[in-house]
């Protein structure tokens, strides 16, 4: 029995390593095959994926809610922009500062969030998102007011021979890969399980020794940190921040993207990020007059077809494929639970190039659980 599980584990690891390697290769090749604008779009998908992975920790795995993550995103973006603009620090220095600042900000907000639940928490976090842009406009001396700040983008070193968009892509790819790995590490540990347990049954979790306040506030803090890191990357990639880029609509878009991508799924954030990045422009093409309506309708359509999000759809499809392939093999349970690598390179839309990274950053062999609730 035990040796069999070991063998299963090993093949799973092997398959994961193979998929990761393949995905990494594709991700490395992508910027050389696409036009600069498309590379830029892919870079932004990665940026949003980091923010969504953070939001997923809080909402998908933590069972809390935030309609204010755009504010943490903005805080990270402005931290980076101000450091670059006023203090002329290098780009790299802005990342840990933005991360730490947003972590602490999240910790600060996590404490009152302990006393709030559901709609109340949604409302309080939303007010954070609503209140931040005007504040940024007011603090003109530091933030540049409504005009915003224009900062330098990271420049490719001469030895690399890369163009600016390609360099940005690789930098963001590296940071987001690490970020997604950290999120995965957290979830595959004692603290991640504690978070899931709190989501599923608070009092039982507490009886098992889980300190609710600690894990809930830390979920908030980590989540805010990821949003802040994403914001920092945003500043690097765009080279410009202004209060209007971070209106409360951003917060709502992030949450919508997460739900569409798949709550509590490890690779839902990547799918959701692609949705957030590409669908508004598709909507624009479909209807010049009311892209918002088309966007909304598309969200509804996705939720109708895939109530557990695109990730749920993907893993269900993958599960069906695996089942058919495995036939009546004894290992059927594990092969169903584990989304085979192909399942990630799924669905719809004119965004083939996205899928490779989704495999790369997506820990495929991760614990089964969730998607299917």
């Amino acid at each position: 029995m035990r040796s069999m599980t070991a063998v299963l584990d090993r093949t799973r690891h092997g398959r994961f390593a193979l998929a990761a390697l393949l995905a990494a290769a594709v991700a490395m090749a992508v910027p050389f095959y696409f036009a600069p604008f498309q590379v830029f779009q892919l870079t932004m998908v990665l940026v949003y994926a980091v923010a969504l992975a953070g939001l997923n920790l809080l909402v998908g795995f933590g069972g809390q809610i935030s309609l204010g993550h755009g504010a943490f995103f903005a805080a990270g973006a402005y931290t980076a922009a101000i450091m670059l603009d006023r203090f002329d620090t290098g780009h790299l220095a802005t990342l840990p500062v933005a991360a730490a600042a947003c972590f602490l900000l999240g910790l600060g907000f996590g404490v009152p969030a302990l006393r709030l639940r559901g709609l109340y928490l949604a409302l309080v976090t939303l007010s954070l998102a609503v209140f931040l842009p005007p504040l940024l406009k007011r603090l003109e001396a530091v933030t540049g007011g409504s005009m915003g700040l224009t900062v330098e983008k990271p420049q490719p070193p001469a030895w690399s021979g890369l163009a600016e968009d390609q360099w940005s892509y690789f930098v963001v790819l590296a940071v987001s890969a690490v970020a997604l790995l950290v999120a995965r590490n957290l979830l595959r540990s004692r603290v991640g399980r504690a978070l899931l347990a709190v989501r599923d049954n608070e009092s039982a979790a507490e009886v098992m020794g889980v300190r609710l306040s600690l894990h809930k506030t830390f979920a908030f803090a980590w989540s805010a940190m990821f949003a802040g890191v994403a914001g920092c990357l945003y500043t690097w990639v765009i080279g410009f921040v202004s209060p209007d880029s971070f209106s409360f609509v951003l917060s709502i878009t992030l949450l919508a993207g997460l739900v569409v991508g798949g709550l509590a799924s490890l690779y839902g954030p990547l799918l959701g990020a692609a949705f957030v990045m590409y669908v508004p422009s598709v909507a624009q093409d479909l209807s010049e007059a009311a892209p918002g309506v088309v966007f909304g309708l598309l969200i509804i359509a996705v939720m109708f077809v895939a109530p557990t999000g695109l990730a749920g759809l993907a893993s269900r499809a993958g599960g069906a494929v695996a089942r058919r392939r495995a036939g009546a093999a004894a290992s059927d349970r594990s092969s169903v639970a584990e989304p085979p690598p192909e399942s990630t390179s799924e669905p719809s839309a004119p965004r083939t190039p996205v899928d490779p990274e989704s495999v790369e950053a997506e820990p495929v062999g991760a614990p089964p659980r969730t998607e299917k609730e």
């Binding site: 590490n185 004692r190 399980r193 504690a194 347990a197 098992m208 020794g209 980590w222 659980r369």
Partner: protein, 252 residues
Amino acid sequence: MLTVDGITVRFGGITALDGVAFTVEPGTAVGLIGPNGAGKTTLFNCLTRRCTPDAGTVSFDGVDLLALAPHAVAECGIARTFQNLGLFPRLTVRENVMVGAHSRGRTGHLAAALRLPRVRREEAELRDRADELLRRLGLEDLADHPASGLPFGTLKRVELARALAVRPRLLLLDEPVNGLSHGEVGQFADLVRSVRRDFDVTLVVVEHHMGFVMGLCDKVVCLDFGRKIAEGPPEDIQRDPVVIEAYLGVAA
């Protein structure tokens, strides 16, 4: 080992517990019986810090339980199951059991984020221990199954496995055989007896199934309307007119 003294709990107008006192000796199994609404679950809630009594003391091996934070009770060596199952439905059976060992782990947030070598080691250990418990309770084939959607009797066993993962010295079972079929009750009784021996736990069991209580317990405490109305060996309690009266009073 456990001394409960003068516990009183009021919810608004009703007094759920009224000056309840009893002791549990190490290694024994104590049955807690009483009609519906007698306050049995409330008493468990006091022992696990789910609710704070208005008066009274609880001491466990010399530790004042009421002074502990709710999450610290597990670390003390007290585990419980819930009357209506308190599992984590979206976690797998194995993960449920691993959460049970939460208080035995040390990994903090930073170490987990970096997945330091000691985190890996601890994960492997917790996993092995969980698998061992699952094997012990005949659940090994369900390890990767989500805890929802399994038969009720199986879930009861999963919950027992999770409680054992706490490594308790005192195990509180709230209606463990409630909702089980006749055959399952017998099996579960055997399981509890063997677990009690192998894991060396002291038991407090709330149960309406008299056969189960009488076969398992060394002592029985009977509550009615929050008051202790009888305490003694199972044979005596079964014949005690006050106890019979309390049960019949409810039935009538």
